[in-house]
Symmetry: C2
Subunit: 320 residues, 2 copies
């Protein structure tokens, strides 16, 4: 473990919210560190983005790379390792990763949401080896092959339709009598001859050798289990806030999202939050980016106030 100088702000997470926070914090002259497992997170990789203001269409990876470049241009540092522990020791925050320990005067929590997993044997082992959380990203690898999609709602329906155009055969496994999607989507699913719907069912194991070879599926009505040979499994069950890291430090709502006010403040002084991990109901990239900016400027104001210096407020100028 090595110790660095105390940062003005550490931002946990490096997607739209975290990187925008980094850009604005660094631009205000704050000593800024971003700690994240990866750049962009899951959500940004899943869609062609057609609604980020300023771009007709852009892929998530390009957009996030651009954000990261801008943040670094203003002097933000990025450490690509997962934050494993957060602590407040007398107003100095500690962020621990597997190999490092960083300290800061403020924290911005912006680690987004993560895909809801299956929670079954073999899932961790086969991640990236046939098990994917992103049909748009990994679908093209399964051209002509057999895949399973797991999930009951729109995410899963869209993934199944997308894969139906690429794969030879698609099993759609869901634990309801019918998919929870609109009639048009239901009809579309039914019209695809290479999609087999498997209702009232749950995946209980993912198995194989070096890569996925079979899944075990339990029919909850008949209480029977069937093994399906598949080359790939797409887990498309939506996203959840994995906020265990922040548990006890900041107040969470019933969805385990971080409760934050319109200036990005959490229940804990000095800790701010932005993006999909917060209790804002609208999970859009431009909203996350706006919240990231707000959290950074609030963290700046918090430190300025502590140091008896001038705050950003009102018609404060857009500085170049």
């Amino acid at each position: 473990m090595s110790k660095d100088a105390v940062y003005d702000v550490i931002i946990v997470g490096a997607a739209a919210a975290g990187l925008t926070a980094a850009l604005y914090a660094a631009r205000q002259g704050m000593k800024t560190l971003v700690v994240s497992k990866d750049l962009g997170g899951q959500a940004l990789l899943t869609n062609h983005i057609q609604n980020y203001p300023g771009y007709d269409t852009v892929d998530g990876f390009s957009l996030v790379s651009k954000f990261a470049e801008q943040a670094k241009g203003f002097g933000a540092e990025i450490h690509l390792e997962e934050a494993k522990e957060l602590k407040d020791e007398d107003g100095i925050f500690t962020v621990k990763t597997p190999t490092r320990e960083f300290t800061s005067h403020t924290l911005i929590l912006a680690f987004g949401k993560t895909p809801r997993d299956l929670g079954v044997t073999g899932e961790d082992e086969y991640k990236g080896k046939g098990l994917s959380f992103c049909a748009t990203c990994d679908g093209p690898l399964y051209r002509g092959r057999t895949v399973a999609v797991v999930g009951t709602a729109e995410y899963a329906a869209d993934a199944a339709l997308l894969l139906s155009d690429l794969a030879g055969k698609v099993y759609l496994i869901f634990n309801r009598s019918k998919m929870a999607v609109d009639e048009a989507t239901l009809a579309d699913l039914q019209s695809r001859s290479n999609i087999t719907q498997i209702p009232n069912s749950k995946v209980t194991a993912v198995q194989g050798g070096l890569t996925v070879e079979t899944i075990k599926v339990r029919d909850e009505s008949s209480k029977t289990e069937t093994v399906y040979p598949v080359d790939g499994v797409f887990v498309e069950q939506g996203y959840i806030a994995k906020t265990d890291l922040a548990q006890g430090l900041v107040a969470l709502n019933e969805r385990r999202e971080i409760i934050s006010d319109k200036e990005g403040r959490t229940s804990h002084p000095g800790i701010f939050a932005a993006g999909d991990v917060t209790d804002i109901p609208f999970k859009q990239i431009v909203v996350s980016a706006g919240q990231g900016c707000v959290a950074a400027l609030s963290a700046y104001n918090y430190l300025q106030q502590k140091r008896g210096k001038a705050l950003i407020r009102g018609d404060w100028k857009r500085r170049k």
Copy 2:
């Protein structure tokens, strides 16, 4: 006066907040109208923007044009005339312009802030005829000529420095003993041989023929008035929320900004707000854009609830 079909939403204002709101409202299938005096507003015209996430640098006009194009692409209509009156008649809102009258089920107020004016004789008459609120926009017209800059803070200092590089002579008129800027900026102002500082003074009249020719300046210490020959006057006194239009409909704070919560709701059901006109302390383009998106989706949810339909909430999917 002609009457149109009732819109789902009318957005008053067409800068970052208003146009982003239009984009998201139209994308949700809402019948959407933007009513605004102009595209972009004052603020977006004043700076080269170096901090909008996704762009290294972009001029305000290009960015706003792009936003407008995207909003229109999703079906939003834009009516370029100033909103003069807003009314709520039994839950149907009316927006009146000099020549038209529009009605809607929801309103989004996003008309930003406007420059603080001088409030003197000749100001209205010479707007665009030698009197400007934007040194960056209009400065190049005064190459080698004589101009006055009015204001005590950073806006005015920056305008004076910019104009000092272009104009032959710059009078900097401010009603304090010294400019309210940092030491470095003060030194920079003093180092410019073509800037004449006129402290403790107020402009009392703007005069001329077809264009500005002189200004009358009153020295508040000596109580004397002097006439200065100038070709241009730059009013650089910051921005205020001109919310008279919304007075009585929505609650305002002490700065006359519209009080809104983190979901963009005002004190009036069915009326939402976004951008610089709200009480958010951080006036940044990306914050305005984020707030615009939030206000649009909140307006959508408000209508959906009224109509007994499904709301956007939580891990609602980013639709294509």
